[in-house]
């Protein structure tokens, strides 16, 4: 039983990035083909539907559609934090797969114990601030160009 369980966990850990890549790839294709705002192919944000407020992820799907069509600025207006977080996230995934390629200075940041807390604070602050109804904060809410 223990043998079985430990090997199953190892398998899930290894399959997790692959499943993420396959699922993410399918999502990207769907996002390229269908416009999230108009096609009705993608669900609305449940948080926004329930409360009327924007969550940190609101606008991400529309922004990804814009990005895939090369409209960087339109994507940025829809969800700036998502667009800004894409390069670091991509490099994090890459360096998890190929640790040898990871530059040393990244380790110096990520080895600090407070570093995930800092990200949590940024996300929570972003959540609050993009719901404030006056400039400049309302610029962070999803905008259509």
């Amino acid at each position: 039983m223990h043998l079985l369980r430990s090997s199953t966990i190892g398998w899930i850990d290894r399959a997790w990035p692959a499943a993420f890549a396959v699922g993410g790839g399918a999502m990207l294709v769907a996002l390229y083909v269908w416009e999230p705002a108009a096609s009705g192919m993608f669900p609305p944000c449940p948080f926004h539907a329930l409360t009327g407020f924007h969550c940190p992820g609101c606008g991400s799907l529309r922004a990804m559609h814009k990005l895939l069509h090369g409209e960087l600025w339109a994507a940025f207006r829809l969800n700036p934090l998502m667009v800004l977080s894409l390069p670091p996230l991509a490099s994090a995934v890459a360096s998890a797969q190929w640790p040898a390629l990871r530059p040393r200075w990244i380790d110096r940041i990520t080895s600090r114990p407070g570093w995930p807390t800092a990200i949590l604070m940024v996300v929570l602050l972003y959540w609050l601030v993009r719901n404030l109804p006056f400039e400049p904060f309302c610029w962070l809410a999803p905008h259509r160009l």
């Binding site: 223990h2 043998l3 940190p56 609101c58 996230l89």
Partner: protein, 209 residues
């Protein structure tokens, strides 16, 4: 191992390999097994240093198989490999570098001379915090679960810094779980919507006017 054991072949475990596979490398220095069968006392010992069993000769196949099953169950549980089965040895008392057990008061490893005490993770294995997945699901899945995952990811690092290895492992698995829950919810919702949209298109304009 199980197949060989039930076939009646005496098998002894490849302990270094098991330790490697369960990612609990170097916590033990020796494993002693006392086994009584038919009024006879067997005293086996596996040494990490020589990577070999001693006193195996007088052991008969049947009891060897029982032992193998017992060890297989025992060794693959992490707490055993992390050294807790050795009674009151604390993880800090094992050398981080070579795994040798040391006295409570020792400041340097008695075998290899490495400084003791500055143990970050007792198992020597970094604890993943799944922060990337937490952020991805927060930013894309539009659900509060991703935030929960980031909270647990933050706990992993702060607990590791405070020396609470077991707590960090717990938080790590929770961070993973909530990222998975968030991702699953998002995927299910998207697939559901796409299926509904395709169905309503296929049903024709009469349904969709």
């Amino acid at each position: 191992v199980l197949v060989a054991a039930t076939a009646g072949v005496p098998v002894l475990l490849d302990l270094p390999k098991i330790a490697k596979r369960t990612r609990c490398a170097t916590r033990y220095s020796a494993i002693k097994v006392c086994y009584i069968q038919g009024g006879k006392d067997y005293d086996l010992e596996y040494s990490r240093e020589t990577e070999a069993w001693s006193n195996v000769d007088e052991f008969d196949a049947a009891s060897a198989n029982l032992l193998v099953l017992f060890l297989a169950a025992m060794l693959t549980s992490r707490s055993v490999l992390q050294g807790r089965f050795l009674g009151d040895m604390r993880p800090e008392m094992f050398c981080k570098k070579c795994g040798a057990p040391n006295d409570d008061s020792a400041t340097m490893c008695s075998r290899c001379g490495t400084a003791l005490g500055s143990v970050v993770a007792p198992s020597g294995e970094p604890v993943p915090n799944y922060l990337v997945y937490a952020i991805l699901t927060t930013v894309f899945c539009c659900l509060p679960f991703g935030i929960v995952s980031i909270v647990y990811a933050a706990q992993v690092n702060s607990k590791l810094a405070g020396g609470d290895y077991q707590g960090a492992v717990d938080s790590s698995s929770k961070a993973k779980m909530w990222a998975l829950v968030s991702m699953a919810c998002g995927l299910v919702a998207v697939v559901f919507y796409i299926v509904i949209a395709i169905l309503s298109v296929a049903a024709g304009p009469g349904m969709n006017r």
